[in-house]
């Protein structure tokens, strides 16, 4: 089989407010709009995905939290109603998705080989988390591409940020090898917000944009600093700053999706395209793309050629 490709990676945050603001037929609550700049950012990301024509979308979500290992959706078809436990007033969404089980199994196999605990989720009644569903709806509302859903093992929170991100690095490299081995043309989705300080009370009208603003100045400034570095392609510095960013901005990238995605992409030192930035109940959200195809980095080459973590990042391999 031909070697696979990772065409691109997207930072694709998952506030359910974006689905609510869009009023798609799948979502029961109705809104008067809201969060338009972020929704327009996703429109641009959708157009890019159309151009890329991937076989599969892989999404790592912080809202499927697992304690024993890294889990993968492993049922070919999953459907149901997803009600957000935090924002049930905004998100009650009828979903139906197809899973690329072969690729998911390959990811789990490669992760196991690399020293991780991995598990395949085989229960057909499983409720897919709202982070996965929101991210997928916003990037591909047609739901016509198969997906691989990855859980967020709670290691970064349970142990510490560095050890947790080191584990996500291994998971990313395993994902890369699985994509290579199965010959897929894949797009990766890191379903993470940036600064994550948020309001503690919801405005009476959730979509009242006169109430929307960054929760803290420090969080906003951190977001601008890392976005600017990403736009310039200074990714090594971003990864070096990540633990401090996480600590000082309560950044959701702690849950691992961002590190997983960049490890899988081989830590490309290329500029990201910013489609848009906006806050949602005070948190900082950016929709961004790293276009590996355009950079000539999409082909995954031969087995075992996965690059290491950035030298000054401090990541470690579980099997070294």
């Amino acid at each position: 089989m031909a070697n696979g490709e990772i065409l691109a990676g997207f930072l694709a945050p998952h506030p359910p407010h974006l689905v609510y603001g869009e009023n798609p037929p799948q979502n029961e609550p109705r809104s008067q709009g809201g969060w338009e700049p972020l929704r327009w950012a996703y429109e641009r990301a959708r157009a890019r995905l159309d151009e890329l024509k991937p076989d599969v979308l892989l999404v790592h979500s912080p809202h499927w939290i697992t304690s024993v290992g890294h889990h993968f959706l492993g049922v070919r078809h999953l459907s149901g109603k997803s009600v957000d436990p935090i924002f049930p007033n905004l998100f009650r969404y009828d979903f139906s998705l197809e899973v690329d089980v072969e690729l998911a199994e390959a990811c789990a196999d490669e992760g196991r080989k690399a020293g991780l605990v991995t598990k395949m989720m085989r229960n057909p009644n499983f409720r897919v988390d709202y982070g996965t569903i929101t991210c997928l709806h916003m990037i591909r509302p047609q739901w016509d591409l198969p997906v691989v859903g990855l859980s967020a093992n709670n290691t970064p929170y349970y142990l510490n940020t560095k050890e947790g991100l080191a584990e996500m690095d291994v998971l990313g490299k395993a994902t890369r090898e699985a994509i290579r081995r199965t010959g897929r043309r894949a797009v990766l989705l890191a379903s993470n917000t940036l600064s994550h300080w948020h309001f503690h009370e919801e405005p009476a009208i959730p979509e009242d944009m006169s109430k929307e603003h960054p929760q803290t100045m420090a969080g906003y400034q951190w977001d601008m600093r890392v976005i600017e570095l990403m736009r310039k392609g200074r990714m090594r510095e971003v990864h070096r700053l990540l633990p401090q960013f996480i600590e000082e901005a309560f950044a959701e990238v702690k849950s691992g999706a961002f590190t997983w995605m960049h490890a899988a992409m081989g830590y490309p030192e290329i500029p990201a395209e910013l489609f848009g930035y906006g806050t949602v109940i005070g948190t900082g959200n950016a929709v961004m793309e790293w276009d590996l195809q355009k950079a000539g980095l999409s082909h995954l080459g031969v087995a075992g050629a996965s690059p290491g973590a950035p030298a000054d990042w401090g990541g470690t391999s579980l099997v070294d």
């Binding site: 304690s67 009644n125 009370e201 919801e202 109940i281």
Partner: protein, 271 residues
């Protein structure tokens, strides 16, 4: 006093889904014994707080008359489903929503079809035999930003609302003791508390609970939470304390044991 009984129980699904694992089966049996004691106290409603119903905005109270469905746990899906059919005392729940702001807490009712009832609530309902028409629930979320003190205020206002409505109330806090879990798959038959230190902490806390020494417990909880990673800072115990106006005479421990390395106990308070 409106409160006629109080219980602390674990929220892990493993005792319910894998009763054939001896230690987990014993915890399930202990919860069923506690359920019989709860039934004997003849409550009109059950005031329940589960550490697994996570919230970050406002205080949520379940105001849906009947919640039905099949839940699959995020971690333990391979052991089966958790069907549920939960009735709520909506009159009392609405009173709690209305009273919360008077105690400095923004609150809202949750009344949505398909709302994801958390694993701990379902496990407690199933093994304690609560949540039916005859023992409806008032369920409160665990707002991650609320302290033990705020949690006590919330259960106290709920107990006061029950008293105003002339209702007998059972109180249930759903959560664990020491929180360290094994990170790799284990043989359930070989389960144990993750460390001797955690075990010592759990035993100490349970002895203090049995003695009814609330002062000593209040002093010990912060250190217990920090050193033994107590489940959610042991806020489910604060839930009990608030409803009991900060005092109880002692307690009976129906069961204590490990759940994948973490500590779990089934406790019936003497009030």
């Amino acid at each position: 006093m409106s409160v006629v009984s109080a219980f602390l129980v674990p929220g892990s699904p493993l005792p319910l889904l894998k009763r054939d694992a001896l230690g987990w089966g014993r915890l399930a049996s202990a919860m069923q014994r506690a359920g019989r004691a709860l039934e004997a106290s003849r409550p009109d409603a059950v005031l329940l707080y589960s550490t697994q119903w996570l919230a970050v905005l406002d205080q949520q109270w379940l105001t849906r008359k009947r919640s039905q469905g099949i839940h699959v746990d995020d971690n333990w899906y391979e052991f089966g489903e958790l069907p549920y059919d939960i009735h709520a005392d909506t009159e009392l729940a609405h009173a709690c929503v209305a009273a919360s702001p008077r105690h400095g807490v923004h609150a809202r009712g949750v009344n949505y079809e398909g709302f994801p009832i958390d694993t701990g609530t379902i496990v407690a309902c199933t093994l304690l035999g609560i949540g039916g028409v005859d023992r409806p629930l008032v369920v409160a979320s665990n707002n991650l930003y609320h302290s033990g003190e705020v949690t006590e205020r919330l259960s106290a206002l709920a107990a006061a609302a029950a008293e105003e409505q002339g209702k007998r109330l059972a109180v249930v806090g759903v959560g664990g003791l020491s929180g360290t879990q094994f990170r790799t798959e284990i043989d359930p038959r070989a389960d144990r508390i993750a460390s001797a230190d955690d075990d010592r902490w759990n035993q100490r806390i349970l002895q203090l609970v049995e003695s009814g020494d609330v002062g000593q417990l209040r002093s010990a909880i912060p250190q217990f939470a920090s050193e033994a990673r107590a489940d959610m800072g042991f806020k489910h115990f604060h839930w009990i304390l608030g409803a009991l106006k900060g005092r109880f005479l002692g307690a009976r421990v129906h069961g204590y044991g490990p759940v994948y390395g973490s500590g779990a106990a089934v406790v019936e308070f003497t009030i």
